[in-house]
Homo-oligomer: 204 residues x 2
């Protein structure tokens, strides 16, 4: 019916550029005025596109928010991976995971508060981007456990899944933006003492 | 200037009754209509007192909310203490602390949602009642650690304060109503696996 509606896979480079342009402008706009109170009409007016034109590329405001959120979470994953990659031991990887995740989240809160608010909405409502992010963090924890068990650093009696889940539950209040805002006072204490407690629990 | 303003210590039994009456009615009213969107005027109208009369007993809406919140937190503490009191070992006390706290919080969420919302506001804004509650939970954790160390159940190398803090940080997302609402899906998993991990970390 509508020739303008295409699936992502058939979109040409030009359409891709327009999507990027909308995202870039929306990131600036939401970053200034906030996400929850801004409508697609406000956004369209501010960036000089028609509302209908924006809807050709994105189904909803949330679809735009999702891309912004995914981009930001990808940046956080880069920080986390960079922090972990060079760690000499599994124990040190675990410490760096806690530190980098909570620092990256706090930085976003203190330096980009309005974008943090998108992450908080996304976490509260468990958007797909947030679910995927949490699964990635969960997978990193599991890999650290496997490495540490193989290297003889960690005990092997506890079922791997149970140990990984419990550690993920301990880290989650610092991963999930909706919760992190209530834990900002204790972030640095948590980033030091939580991995220390976990490492005591992992002693062979 | 105003003869009707008295300090709490000089209030007679009759005034005490009126305070109780206001709290009882406010608990019902907020429990039905919610706390955040209800004004003292709404409340006064609903319970048949004048707004000025209510203000003779409470400085603000928050002062009323504080009493309701304290009452509810006292009920939760009773549940927690009853669960812990009869536990045969420090390890079992720790397990029951996690279970009772998270069950009491979830019960409030699922069965008294509007009163839960008061607790969530109180936790978000760290009302004195919530701070006192968190200190009480922190003190229970410390006492369990002392008991377990004396009984030879727990290691004694880690500074007591550090161990107690770390355990409190792990439990806090289930104590703090503002955070608990994001953890409802994993409450029962958390209540089983988190104390298990902590107990592994406490092994002598």
């Amino acid at each position: 019916m509508n020739e303008n509606i295409t699936t992502p896979s058939t979109r040409g480079p030009q359409e891709h550029d327009v999507r990027d342009q909308v995202i870039e402008a929306a990131t600036r706009h939401f970053g200034h005025y906030g996400y929850e109170k801004t409508t697609v009409s406000d956004l369209a007016k501010a960036i000089g596109f028609s509302k209908a034109y924006i809807y050709k590329f994105f189904d909803s405001k949330q679809a735009i928010g999702e891309v912004i959120c995914s981009n930001r979470l990808a940046m956080i994953m880069e920080i986390v991976n960079a922090a972990i990659d060079q760690a000499p031991t599994a124990s040190e990887k675990l410490r760096r995971l806690f530190r980098s995740i909570s620092e990256a989240g706090s930085d976003l809160f203190f330096h980009d508060r309005k974008l943090y608010d998108i992450a908080a909405v996304a976490s509260r409502d468990q958007w797909p981007s947030v679910q995927a992010h949490e699964l990635r963090i969960r997978a990193i924890i599991q890999q650290i456990l496997v490495d540490g068990r193989e290297a003889g650093e960690f005990e092997r009696k506890t079922p791997l899944d149970e140990a990984a889940n419990a550690i993920f539950l301990i880290l989650r209040p610092y991963v999930n933006a909706a919760q992190l805002q209530y834990n900002l006072d204790t972030v640095s204490e948590a980033a030091a003492h939580l991995p220390a407690l976990i490492l005591r629990s992992l002693a062979p």
